[in-house]
Protein backbone atom coordinates (compact mmCIF):
# COMPACT_ATOMS: atom_id res chain seq x y z
CA UNK A 1 0.00 0.00 0.00
CA UNK A 2 1.62 3.27 -1.10
CA UNK A 3 1.37 6.37 1.03
CA UNK A 4 2.42 9.82 -0.15
CA UNK A 5 2.03 12.23 2.78
CA UNK A 6 2.04 15.21 0.40
CA UNK A 7 -1.28 13.99 -0.99
CA UNK A 8 -2.89 13.56 2.45
CA UNK A 9 -4.82 16.06 4.54
CA UNK A 10 -3.67 16.38 8.13
CA UNK A 11 -5.12 18.12 11.18
CA UNK A 12 -5.12 21.94 10.78
CA UNK A 13 -2.41 23.49 12.95
CA UNK A 14 -4.83 25.55 15.05
CA UNK A 15 -6.65 22.32 15.99
CA UNK A 16 -3.46 20.56 17.16
CA UNK A 17 -3.11 22.29 20.53
CA UNK A 18 -3.84 19.99 23.51
CA UNK A 19 -5.12 20.82 27.02
CA UNK A 20 -3.97 19.32 30.34
CA UNK A 21 -6.39 16.45 30.16
CA UNK A 22 -5.21 15.48 26.67
CA UNK A 23 -1.56 15.78 27.68
CA UNK A 24 -2.05 13.55 30.74
CA UNK A 25 -1.52 10.21 28.98
CA UNK A 26 -1.67 6.85 30.71
CA UNK A 27 1.86 5.38 30.85
CA UNK A 28 2.54 1.86 29.60
CA UNK A 29 2.98 -1.01 32.04
CA UNK A 30 6.63 -1.47 33.12
CA UNK A 31 6.40 -5.27 33.28
CA UNK A 32 3.71 -6.33 30.84
CA UNK A 33 4.55 -4.23 27.78
CA UNK A 34 6.23 -5.36 24.59
CA UNK A 35 9.88 -4.22 24.90
CA UNK A 36 9.64 -2.87 21.36
CA UNK A 37 6.75 -0.62 22.42
CA UNK A 38 9.17 0.99 24.88
CA UNK A 39 11.77 1.16 22.10
CA UNK A 40 9.33 2.97 19.81
CA UNK A 41 8.46 5.45 22.59
CA UNK A 42 12.15 6.17 23.26
CA UNK A 43 12.87 6.57 19.55
CA UNK A 44 10.00 8.99 18.96
CA UNK A 45 11.00 11.01 22.01
CA UNK A 46 14.48 11.42 20.51
CA UNK A 47 12.94 12.43 17.17
CA UNK A 48 10.68 15.04 18.80
CA UNK A 49 13.52 16.44 20.93
CA UNK A 50 15.59 16.86 17.75
CA UNK A 51 12.67 18.57 15.99
CA UNK A 52 12.37 21.05 18.87
CA UNK A 53 16.09 21.81 19.07
CA UNK A 54 16.42 22.03 15.29
CA UNK A 55 13.58 24.55 15.21
CA UNK A 56 15.18 26.60 18.00
CA UNK A 57 18.50 26.67 16.16
CA UNK A 58 16.76 27.67 12.94
CA UNK A 59 14.89 30.47 14.75
CA UNK A 60 18.16 31.80 16.18
CA UNK A 61 19.55 32.48 12.72
CA UNK A 62 16.29 33.38 10.98
CA UNK A 63 15.93 37.05 10.05
CA UNK A 64 12.37 36.84 8.73
CA UNK A 65 10.03 37.50 11.66
CA UNK A 66 7.05 35.92 9.89
CA UNK A 67 9.01 32.68 9.52
CA UNK A 68 10.25 32.87 13.12
CA UNK A 69 6.65 33.17 14.30
CA UNK A 70 5.54 30.24 12.14
CA UNK A 71 8.42 28.12 13.49
CA UNK A 72 7.38 29.03 17.05
CA UNK A 73 3.82 27.95 16.34
CA UNK A 74 4.85 24.58 14.95
CA UNK A 75 7.44 24.11 17.68
CA UNK A 76 4.85 24.65 20.41
CA UNK A 77 2.94 21.69 18.97
CA UNK A 78 6.10 19.60 18.58
CA UNK A 79 7.00 20.13 22.20
CA UNK A 80 3.53 18.96 23.25
CA UNK A 81 4.07 15.88 21.09
CA UNK A 82 7.37 15.27 22.90
CA UNK A 83 5.64 15.52 26.29
CA UNK A 84 2.91 13.07 25.31
CA UNK A 85 5.39 10.58 23.86
CA UNK A 86 7.95 10.64 26.66
CA UNK A 87 5.26 10.64 29.37
CA UNK A 88 4.18 7.22 28.10
CA UNK A 89 7.20 5.87 29.98
CA UNK A 90 6.16 4.38 33.34
CA UNK A 91 7.22 6.15 36.52
CA UNK A 92 7.81 2.80 38.20
CA UNK A 93 10.80 2.04 35.96
CA UNK A 94 14.18 3.13 37.32
CA UNK A 95 16.47 5.35 35.20
CA UNK A 96 18.75 2.32 34.77
CA UNK A 97 15.90 0.27 33.33
CA UNK A 98 15.10 3.09 30.92
CA UNK A 99 18.81 3.17 30.08
CA UNK A 100 18.73 -0.50 29.13
CA UNK A 101 15.81 0.21 26.80
CA UNK A 102 17.77 3.15 25.31
CA UNK A 103 20.54 0.70 24.47
CA UNK A 104 18.07 -1.82 23.08
CA UNK A 105 16.88 0.99 20.78
CA UNK A 106 20.46 1.84 19.80
CA UNK A 107 21.13 -1.82 18.96
CA UNK A 108 17.99 -2.86 17.12
CA UNK A 109 17.21 0.48 15.42
CA UNK A 110 20.78 1.01 14.19
CA UNK A 111 21.11 -2.62 13.09
CA UNK A 112 17.86 -2.43 11.11
CA UNK A 113 18.93 0.82 9.46
CA UNK A 114 22.35 -0.62 8.64
CA UNK A 115 20.63 -3.59 7.01
CA UNK A 116 18.39 -1.33 4.89
CA UNK A 117 20.95 1.38 4.01
CA UNK A 118 21.77 1.35 0.26
CA UNK A 119 24.92 3.54 0.46
CA UNK A 120 27.97 1.42 1.44
CA UNK A 121 29.83 4.25 3.23
CA UNK A 122 26.77 5.13 5.33
CA UNK A 123 26.06 1.46 5.99
CA UNK A 124 29.61 1.03 7.31
CA UNK A 125 29.09 3.97 9.70
CA UNK A 126 26.02 2.26 11.22
CA UNK A 127 27.70 -1.13 11.37
CA UNK A 128 30.65 0.43 13.15
CA UNK A 129 28.48 2.27 15.69
CA UNK A 130 26.08 -0.54 16.49
CA UNK A 131 28.81 -2.80 17.93
CA UNK A 132 29.58 -0.08 20.47
CA UNK A 133 26.01 0.36 21.68
CA UNK A 134 25.78 -3.42 21.80
CA UNK A 135 28.65 -3.37 24.30
CA UNK A 136 27.03 -0.57 26.32
CA UNK A 137 23.95 -2.76 26.72
CA UNK A 138 26.20 -5.47 28.19
CA UNK A 139 27.95 -3.08 30.62
CA UNK A 140 24.71 -1.50 31.87
CA UNK A 141 23.11 -4.94 32.23
CA UNK A 142 25.92 -5.98 34.56
CA UNK A 143 25.40 -2.80 36.56
CA UNK A 144 21.66 -3.55 36.66
CA UNK A 145 22.13 -6.93 38.27
CA UNK A 146 24.54 -5.42 40.80
CA UNK A 147 22.36 -2.52 41.93
CA UNK A 148 18.85 -3.84 41.30
CA UNK A 149 19.47 -7.58 41.65
CA UNK A 150 17.54 -8.28 38.48
CA UNK A 151 18.56 -9.67 35.14
CA UNK A 152 18.29 -7.50 32.01
CA UNK A 153 16.62 -10.37 30.14
CA UNK A 154 13.50 -9.52 32.16
CA UNK A 155 13.52 -6.21 30.27
CA UNK A 156 14.72 -7.06 26.76
CA UNK A 157 12.93 -10.42 26.93
CA UNK A 158 15.29 -12.34 24.69
CA UNK A 159 14.63 -10.10 21.68
CA UNK A 160 18.15 -8.67 21.93
CA UNK A 161 21.17 -10.63 23.12
CA UNK A 162 23.33 -9.28 25.93
CA UNK A 163 27.05 -10.02 25.57
CA UNK A 164 30.26 -8.12 24.90
CA UNK A 165 30.55 -6.06 21.72
CA UNK A 166 33.55 -3.95 20.80
CA UNK A 167 34.85 -3.31 24.34
CA UNK A 168 33.79 0.12 25.58
CA UNK A 169 37.33 1.08 26.61
CA UNK A 170 38.27 1.16 22.91
CA UNK A 171 35.51 3.64 22.04
CA UNK A 172 37.57 6.58 23.31
CA UNK A 173 39.03 7.92 20.08
CA UNK A 174 40.69 11.17 19.11
CA UNK A 175 37.83 13.59 18.30
CA UNK A 176 39.07 14.30 14.78
CA UNK A 177 38.71 10.59 14.01
CA UNK A 178 35.02 10.79 14.90
CA UNK A 179 34.26 13.07 11.94
CA UNK A 180 33.00 11.15 8.91
CA UNK A 181 32.59 12.41 5.33
CA UNK A 182 29.11 13.75 4.59
CA UNK A 183 26.79 12.34 1.94
CA UNK A 184 26.20 14.48 -1.14
CA UNK A 185 22.78 16.10 -0.87
CA UNK A 186 22.32 16.23 -4.63
CA UNK A 187 22.91 12.54 -5.33
CA UNK A 188 21.91 10.75 -2.10
CA UNK A 189 18.50 9.07 -1.99
CA UNK A 190 15.93 10.43 0.53
CA UNK A 191 15.91 7.14 2.48
CA UNK A 192 19.61 7.56 3.34
CA UNK A 193 19.01 11.13 4.54
CA UNK A 194 16.23 9.93 6.81
CA UNK A 195 18.35 7.09 8.18
CA UNK A 196 21.09 9.56 9.11
CA UNK A 197 18.62 11.93 10.76
CA UNK A 198 16.97 9.11 12.72
CA UNK A 199 20.16 7.58 14.12
CA UNK A 200 21.64 11.00 14.89
CA UNK A 201 18.49 12.01 16.81
CA UNK A 202 18.40 8.75 18.78
CA UNK A 203 22.08 9.04 19.78
CA UNK A 204 21.70 12.70 20.66
CA UNK A 205 18.81 11.91 23.02
CA UNK A 206 20.84 9.08 24.55
CA UNK A 207 23.74 11.47 25.16
CA UNK A 208 21.42 14.02 26.79
CA UNK A 209 19.73 11.37 28.93
CA UNK A 210 22.98 9.87 30.28
CA UNK A 211 24.64 13.17 30.98
CA UNK A 212 21.67 14.23 33.07
CA UNK A 213 20.67 11.00 34.79
CA UNK A 214 24.20 9.75 35.61
CA UNK A 215 24.88 11.99 38.62
CA UNK A 216 21.55 11.04 40.17
CA UNK A 217 23.02 7.68 41.14
CA UNK A 218 24.78 7.25 44.48
CA UNK A 219 26.76 4.11 43.74
CA UNK A 220 30.27 5.15 42.62
CA UNK A 221 30.36 2.51 39.87
CA UNK A 222 27.02 3.68 38.46
CA UNK A 223 28.09 7.34 38.44
CA UNK A 224 31.35 6.52 36.70
CA UNK A 225 29.89 4.12 34.15
CA UNK A 226 27.30 6.73 33.10
CA UNK A 227 30.06 9.32 32.81
CA UNK A 228 32.16 7.09 30.58
CA UNK A 229 29.32 6.01 28.31
CA UNK A 230 27.87 9.55 28.10
CA UNK A 231 31.26 10.62 26.72
CA UNK A 232 31.04 7.94 24.05
CA UNK A 233 27.52 8.93 23.11
CA UNK A 234 28.87 12.40 22.35
CA UNK A 235 31.39 10.76 20.03
CA UNK A 236 28.50 8.96 18.37
CA UNK A 237 26.61 12.21 17.84
CA UNK A 238 29.72 13.62 16.15
CA UNK A 239 30.03 10.43 14.08
CA UNK A 240 26.43 10.44 12.84
CA UNK A 241 25.84 14.18 12.44
CA UNK A 242 28.92 14.45 10.26
CA UNK A 243 27.25 12.09 7.76
CA UNK A 244 24.68 14.79 6.95
CA UNK A 245 25.59 17.19 4.14
CA UNK A 246 26.21 20.58 5.81
CA UNK A 247 25.31 22.23 2.48
CA UNK A 248 21.59 21.49 2.93
CA UNK A 249 19.61 24.72 3.18
CA UNK A 250 17.67 25.43 6.36
CA UNK A 251 14.40 25.00 4.38
CA UNK A 252 15.59 21.67 3.03
CA UNK A 253 16.49 20.50 6.51
CA UNK A 254 13.11 21.64 7.83
CA UNK A 255 11.29 19.59 5.18
CA UNK A 256 13.48 16.52 5.82
CA UNK A 257 12.84 16.74 9.57
CA UNK A 258 9.08 16.91 9.09
CA UNK A 259 9.09 14.19 6.44
CA UNK A 260 11.12 11.91 8.70
CA UNK A 261 8.63 12.41 11.54
CA UNK A 262 5.79 11.46 9.21
CA UNK A 263 7.78 8.43 8.06
CA UNK A 264 8.48 7.19 11.59
CA UNK A 265 4.99 7.71 13.03
CA UNK A 266 3.58 5.95 9.98
CA UNK A 267 6.12 3.13 10.39
CA UNK A 268 5.48 2.58 14.09
CA UNK A 269 1.72 2.61 13.58
CA UNK A 270 2.10 -0.48 11.38
CA UNK A 271 3.60 -2.65 14.13
CA UNK A 272 2.36 -1.19 17.40
CA UNK A 273 0.78 -3.87 19.62
CA UNK A 274 -0.47 -1.51 22.35
CA UNK A 275 -3.73 0.06 21.08
CA UNK A 276 -3.44 3.18 23.28
CA UNK A 277 0.07 3.84 22.02
CA UNK A 278 -0.97 3.10 18.45
CA UNK A 279 -3.71 5.74 18.74
CA UNK A 280 -1.05 8.29 19.69
CA UNK A 281 1.15 7.35 16.72
CA UNK A 282 -1.88 7.80 14.46
CA UNK A 283 -2.83 11.15 15.97
CA UNK A 284 0.74 12.43 15.69
CA UNK A 285 0.98 11.19 12.10
CA UNK A 286 -2.03 13.31 11.22
CA UNK A 287 -0.48 16.31 12.96
CA UNK A 288 2.86 15.83 11.20
CA UNK A 289 1.23 15.64 7.77
CA UNK A 290 0.04 19.22 8.26
CA UNK A 291 3.40 20.34 9.71
CA UNK A 292 5.07 18.84 6.65
CA UNK A 293 2.66 20.73 4.36
CA UNK A 294 3.65 24.02 6.02
CA UNK A 295 7.37 23.15 5.78
CA UNK A 296 6.97 22.38 2.07
CA UNK A 297 5.21 25.72 1.58
CA UNK A 298 8.15 27.53 3.18
CA UNK A 299 10.60 25.47 1.12
CA UNK A 300 8.78 26.39 -2.11
CA UNK A 301 8.66 30.07 -1.19
CA UNK A 302 12.23 30.51 0.04
CA UNK A 303 14.28 27.90 -1.83
CA UNK A 304 12.10 28.27 -4.94
CA UNK A 305 12.27 24.55 -5.55
CA UNK A 306 9.77 21.78 -5.94
CA UNK A 307 9.54 19.20 -3.12
CA UNK A 308 9.71 16.40 -5.71
CA UNK A 309 13.41 17.24 -6.02
CA UNK A 310 13.86 16.32 -2.38
CA UNK A 311 11.23 13.76 -1.39
CA UNK A 312 10.30 10.32 -2.69
CA UNK A 313 6.90 9.76 -4.39
CA UNK A 314 5.83 7.53 -1.47
CA UNK A 315 6.99 6.57 2.01
CA UNK A 316 9.74 3.92 2.05
CA UNK A 317 9.19 0.53 3.72
CA UNK A 318 8.40 1.03 7.42
CA UNK A 319 11.20 1.22 9.99
CA UNK A 320 10.79 -1.95 12.03
CA UNK A 321 11.85 -3.07 15.49
CA UNK A 322 12.69 -6.75 15.23
CA UNK A 323 15.50 -9.04 16.44
CA UNK A 324 18.77 -8.61 14.53
CA UNK A 325 20.69 -11.36 16.31
CA UNK A 326 22.15 -13.13 13.31
CA UNK A 327 23.24 -9.86 11.69
CA UNK A 328 24.86 -8.64 14.91
CA UNK A 329 26.69 -11.92 15.38
CA UNK A 330 28.03 -11.57 11.84
CA UNK A 331 29.25 -8.02 12.62
CA UNK A 332 30.85 -9.19 15.88
CA UNK A 333 32.66 -11.85 13.93
CA UNK A 334 33.94 -9.48 11.23
CA UNK A 335 34.18 -5.90 12.58
CA UNK A 336 34.97 -6.06 16.29
CA UNK A 337 38.59 -4.92 15.78
CA UNK A 338 37.78 -1.75 13.82
CA UNK A 339 38.58 1.78 14.89
CA UNK A 340 38.51 5.02 12.90
CA UNK A 341 41.34 6.95 11.28
CA UNK A 342 40.32 10.21 9.67
CA UNK A 343 37.04 9.59 7.87
CA UNK A 344 37.82 5.89 7.33
CA UNK A 345 38.26 2.65 9.31
CA UNK A 346 41.35 0.64 10.24
CA UNK A 347 42.08 -2.40 12.37
CA UNK A 348 45.33 -1.25 13.97
CA UNK A 349 45.61 0.94 17.08
CA UNK A 350 47.26 3.94 15.39
CA UNK A 351 49.34 6.60 17.10
CA UNK A 352 46.64 9.23 17.57
CA UNK A 353 44.30 6.59 19.02
CA UNK A 354 46.97 5.38 21.44
CA UNK A 355 47.83 8.91 22.56
CA UNK A 356 44.26 9.75 23.44
CA UNK A 357 43.77 6.38 25.16
CA UNK A 358 46.85 6.96 27.31
CA UNK A 359 45.66 10.38 28.40
CA UNK A 360 42.10 9.35 29.25
CA UNK A 361 43.00 6.05 30.94
CA UNK A 362 46.07 7.44 32.76
CA UNK A 363 47.08 3.91 33.70
CA UNK A 364 43.79 3.08 35.43
CA UNK A 365 41.04 0.58 34.73
CA UNK A 366 38.08 2.39 33.11
CA UNK A 367 34.59 2.15 34.71
CA UNK A 368 33.36 -0.08 31.85
CA UNK A 369 35.91 -2.75 32.86
CA UNK A 370 35.54 -2.13 36.56
CA UNK A 371 31.79 -2.84 36.39
CA UNK A 372 32.50 -6.29 34.93
CA UNK A 373 35.27 -6.98 37.49
CA UNK A 374 32.92 -6.03 40.31
CA UNK A 375 30.13 -8.19 38.91
CA UNK A 376 32.53 -11.15 38.72
CA UNK A 377 33.69 -10.54 42.27
CA UNK A 378 30.10 -10.47 43.48
CA UNK A 379 28.48 -13.19 41.34
CA UNK A 380 31.42 -15.29 40.13
CA UNK A 381 30.95 -14.38 36.47
CA UNK A 382 29.76 -11.57 34.21
CA UNK A 383 26.10 -11.24 33.25
CA UNK A 384 25.04 -12.23 29.73
CA UNK A 385 21.97 -13.33 27.83
CA UNK A 386 23.28 -15.37 24.91
CA UNK A 387 20.11 -16.85 23.45
CA UNK A 388 21.67 -18.13 20.22
CA UNK A 389 24.78 -19.90 21.50
CA UNK A 390 28.23 -18.90 22.69
CA UNK A 391 29.86 -15.62 21.65
CA UNK A 392 31.01 -15.69 18.00
CA UNK A 393 34.43 -14.29 19.00
CA UNK A 394 36.25 -17.01 20.90
CA UNK A 395 38.27 -14.56 23.05
CA UNK A 396 35.03 -13.00 24.27
CA UNK A 397 33.40 -16.25 25.39
CA UNK A 398 32.29 -16.41 28.98
CA UNK A 399 34.83 -17.69 31.47
CA UNK A 400 34.70 -17.44 35.20
CA UNK A 401 37.29 -15.02 36.50
CA UNK A 402 38.62 -13.90 33.11
CA UNK A 403 38.35 -10.48 31.53
CA UNK A 404 35.78 -9.67 28.86
Amino acid sequence: MTFNPLEQTGIPLDEQLRNWRELDVLPVDPDLSDPYTLCRIITMNGIEVESIMFSHNFARVCQDQDVTRKLAEIRYIEQQQQKVVNWLLPGQASPLETTIFYEQVAVDLTAWIARMEPDPYLKQAYEFGVLEDFDHLYRYSNLYEMVQHRKAEKLVQGLTEVMPGRPTKYHHRHPVDNVRDPYDRTSTVPLSKMHALTVMSAEQQTMNFYMNVGPQYMEPIARQLYQEIAMIEEEHVTHYESLVDPGETWWERLVLHEYNEVYLYHSFMQHESDPKVKAIWELHLNMEIEQLRIAVELFRAHDERDPDELLPPELPAPVTFEPNKEYLRHLLDTQIDLTTLGAGYVTEAHERFEQLQDKVMAGEVPPSEWVIDQHRAQFGTDYRSETDGPHPVSELRQQSGSKA
Binding site: D31, Q92, Q148, H149, R150, M218, F379, G380, T381
Partner: protein, 195 residues
Amino acid sequence: VTDTTVERDVVDLLVQQHTQIRDLFTEVESSAAATRTSSFHRLVWLLAVHDAADEKVVHPLTRLHVHGGDYIVADLLAEERRTRQTLVALEEMGTDAPEFPRLLNELRTTVLEHANREEAYEFRYLRRDVPAGELRALSAVLKTAEAVAHTHPDPAVEAAPENTLALFDRTKELARKAVGDVLDPGTRSSATGKD
Protein backbone atom coordinates in the same frame (compact mmCIF):
# COMPACT_ATOMS: atom_id res chain seq x y z
CA VAL B 1 27.12 -19.49 39.11
CA THR B 2 24.75 -16.69 38.24
CA ASP B 3 22.34 -16.48 41.11
CA THR B 4 20.75 -13.47 42.70
CA THR B 5 21.32 -14.52 46.30
CA VAL B 6 24.36 -12.28 46.68
CA GLU B 7 23.74 -9.24 48.81
CA ARG B 8 26.01 -7.10 50.86
CA ASP B 9 23.84 -5.25 53.33
CA VAL B 10 20.23 -5.01 54.43
CA VAL B 11 19.44 -2.55 51.62
CA ASP B 12 20.71 -5.02 49.02
CA LEU B 13 18.64 -7.75 50.63
CA LEU B 14 15.48 -5.67 50.49
CA VAL B 15 16.08 -4.41 46.93
CA GLN B 16 16.50 -8.03 45.93
CA GLN B 17 13.18 -8.85 47.60
CA HIS B 18 11.56 -6.01 45.62
CA THR B 19 12.64 -7.58 42.35
CA GLN B 20 11.52 -11.03 43.49
CA ILE B 21 8.11 -9.63 44.44
CA ARG B 22 7.87 -7.81 41.12
CA ASP B 23 8.63 -10.94 39.12
CA LEU B 24 6.34 -13.08 41.26
CA PHE B 25 3.45 -10.75 40.46
CA THR B 26 3.91 -11.31 36.75
CA GLU B 27 4.21 -15.04 37.44
CA VAL B 28 0.86 -15.08 39.27
CA GLU B 29 -0.78 -12.99 36.56
CA SER B 30 0.43 -15.23 33.77
CA SER B 31 -0.02 -18.60 35.52
CA ALA B 32 -2.74 -21.07 34.61
CA ALA B 33 -5.66 -21.51 37.02
CA ALA B 34 -4.23 -24.75 38.42
CA THR B 35 -0.98 -23.20 39.63
CA ARG B 36 -2.21 -19.69 40.35
CA THR B 37 -3.12 -20.42 43.98
CA SER B 38 0.29 -21.78 44.86
CA SER B 39 2.17 -18.91 43.21
CA PHE B 40 -0.18 -16.46 44.90
CA HIS B 41 0.64 -18.01 48.28
CA ARG B 42 4.34 -17.67 47.56
CA LEU B 43 3.75 -14.02 46.75
CA VAL B 44 1.83 -13.48 50.01
CA TRP B 45 4.62 -15.18 51.91
CA LEU B 46 7.31 -12.97 50.37
CA LEU B 47 5.24 -9.85 50.95
CA ALA B 48 4.87 -10.85 54.61
CA VAL B 49 8.60 -11.40 55.02
CA HIS B 50 9.35 -8.09 53.37
CA ASP B 51 6.71 -6.23 55.35
CA ALA B 52 8.20 -7.58 58.58
CA ALA B 53 11.68 -6.41 57.61
CA ASP B 54 10.32 -3.00 56.67
CA GLU B 55 8.39 -2.48 59.88
CA LYS B 56 10.75 -3.99 62.41
CA VAL B 57 14.13 -3.08 60.96
CA VAL B 58 14.15 -0.53 58.16
CA HIS B 59 11.54 1.95 59.35
CA PRO B 60 12.93 2.12 62.92
CA LEU B 61 16.39 2.79 61.46
CA THR B 62 14.95 5.52 59.27
CA ARG B 63 13.21 7.16 62.21
CA LEU B 64 16.39 7.04 64.25
CA HIS B 65 18.97 8.16 61.68
CA VAL B 66 17.31 9.99 58.81
CA HIS B 67 16.26 13.62 58.94
CA GLY B 68 12.46 13.75 58.66
CA GLY B 69 12.37 9.98 59.15
CA ASP B 70 9.10 10.02 61.10
CA TYR B 71 7.27 11.59 58.16
CA ILE B 72 8.89 9.34 55.57
CA VAL B 73 7.91 6.29 57.61
CA ALA B 74 4.36 7.49 58.22
CA ASP B 75 3.75 7.73 54.46
CA LEU B 76 5.25 4.32 53.81
CA LEU B 77 3.31 2.67 56.66
CA ALA B 78 0.05 4.00 55.25
CA GLU B 79 0.86 2.39 51.91
CA GLU B 80 1.81 -0.88 53.58
CA ARG B 81 -1.51 -0.93 55.44
CA ARG B 82 -3.38 -0.51 52.16
CA THR B 83 -1.38 -3.36 50.64
CA ARG B 84 -2.32 -5.68 53.53
CA GLN B 85 -6.01 -4.75 53.17
CA THR B 86 -5.95 -5.55 49.45
CA LEU B 87 -4.14 -8.82 50.12
CA VAL B 88 -6.81 -9.83 52.64
CA ALA B 89 -9.51 -9.00 50.08
CA LEU B 90 -7.73 -11.09 47.45
CA GLU B 91 -7.34 -13.99 49.84
CA GLU B 92 -11.02 -13.87 50.77
CA MET B 93 -12.24 -13.87 47.18
CA GLY B 94 -9.82 -16.65 46.09
CA THR B 95 -7.80 -16.89 42.90
CA ASP B 96 -10.79 -18.19 40.88
CA ALA B 97 -12.92 -15.11 41.52
CA PRO B 98 -13.71 -13.07 38.40
CA GLU B 99 -12.53 -9.91 40.15
CA PHE B 100 -9.19 -11.44 41.18
CA PRO B 101 -7.10 -10.45 38.10
CA ARG B 102 -8.19 -6.81 38.19
CA LEU B 103 -7.54 -6.43 41.92
CA LEU B 104 -4.22 -8.27 41.66
CA ASN B 105 -3.13 -5.94 38.87
CA GLU B 106 -4.07 -2.95 40.98
CA LEU B 107 -2.06 -4.36 43.87
CA ARG B 108 0.93 -4.97 41.60
CA THR B 109 1.00 -1.32 40.56
CA THR B 110 0.62 -0.15 44.16
CA VAL B 111 3.39 -2.43 45.44
CA LEU B 112 5.72 -1.48 42.59
CA GLU B 113 5.22 2.21 43.29
CA HIS B 114 5.71 1.64 47.00
CA ALA B 115 8.97 -0.22 46.35
CA ASN B 116 10.23 2.63 44.21
CA ARG B 117 9.36 5.15 46.89
CA GLU B 118 11.16 3.07 49.52
CA GLU B 119 14.27 2.88 47.36
CA ALA B 120 14.21 6.56 46.47
CA TYR B 121 13.12 8.15 49.75
CA GLU B 122 14.26 5.69 52.40
CA PHE B 123 17.00 3.26 51.32
CA ARG B 124 19.30 5.85 49.76
CA TYR B 125 19.33 7.82 53.03
CA LEU B 126 19.95 4.72 55.12
CA ARG B 127 23.09 4.06 53.07
CA ARG B 128 24.16 7.64 53.69
CA ASP B 129 23.28 7.95 57.38
CA VAL B 130 23.65 4.50 58.98
CA PRO B 131 27.07 2.94 59.62
CA ALA B 132 27.84 0.36 56.92
CA GLY B 133 28.71 -2.31 59.48
CA GLU B 134 25.27 -2.02 61.06
CA LEU B 135 23.53 -2.39 57.69
CA ARG B 136 25.57 -5.51 56.95
CA ALA B 137 24.91 -7.06 60.36
CA LEU B 138 21.17 -6.53 59.96
CA SER B 139 21.21 -8.33 56.64
CA ALA B 140 22.56 -11.48 58.26
CA VAL B 141 20.05 -11.25 61.09
CA LEU B 142 17.09 -10.86 58.75
CA LYS B 143 18.17 -13.80 56.64
CA THR B 144 18.27 -15.97 59.74
CA ALA B 145 14.85 -14.75 60.83
CA GLU B 146 13.44 -15.49 57.38
CA ALA B 147 14.85 -19.01 57.53
CA VAL B 148 13.27 -19.55 60.94
CA ALA B 149 9.92 -18.27 59.71
CA HIS B 150 10.14 -20.69 56.80
CA THR B 151 10.68 -23.75 58.95
CA HIS B 152 8.86 -23.06 62.17
CA PRO B 153 6.08 -23.73 61.74
CA ASP B 154 6.32 -25.09 58.22
CA PRO B 155 4.61 -22.44 56.11
CA ALA B 156 3.54 -25.16 53.63
CA VAL B 157 3.08 -22.44 51.10
CA GLU B 158 1.28 -24.72 48.69
CA ALA B 159 -1.53 -25.25 51.16
CA ALA B 160 -2.25 -21.76 52.50
CA PRO B 161 -1.39 -22.58 56.11
CA GLU B 162 -2.73 -19.53 57.82
CA ASN B 163 -4.56 -16.39 56.94
CA THR B 164 -2.69 -13.39 55.64
CA LEU B 165 -2.89 -11.25 58.76
CA ALA B 166 -1.70 -14.07 61.04
CA LEU B 167 1.21 -14.71 58.70
CA PHE B 168 2.17 -11.04 58.70
CA ASP B 169 1.99 -10.90 62.50
CA ARG B 170 4.10 -14.02 62.92
CA THR B 171 6.89 -12.90 60.56
CA LYS B 172 6.93 -9.50 62.25
CA GLU B 173 7.35 -11.05 65.67
CA LEU B 174 10.25 -13.17 64.41
CA ALA B 175 11.91 -10.13 62.85
CA ARG B 176 11.46 -8.16 66.05
CA LYS B 177 13.01 -10.91 68.17
CA ALA B 178 15.90 -11.42 65.78
CA VAL B 179 16.79 -7.77 65.59
CA GLY B 180 16.38 -7.29 69.31
CA ASP B 181 19.19 -9.75 69.91
CA VAL B 182 21.62 -7.85 67.74
CA LEU B 183 21.15 -4.12 67.94
CA ASP B 184 22.86 -2.38 70.83
CA PRO B 185 20.66 -1.28 73.77
CA GLY B 186 20.35 2.34 72.59
CA THR B 187 19.44 1.36 69.09
CA ARG B 188 17.20 -1.45 70.28
CA SER B 189 14.94 0.79 72.31
CA SER B 190 14.47 3.11 69.34
CA ALA B 191 14.42 0.40 66.76
CA THR B 192 11.74 -1.57 68.49
CA GLY B 193 9.97 1.01 70.57
CA LYS B 194 7.80 2.68 67.94
CA ASP B 195 6.06 -0.21 66.26
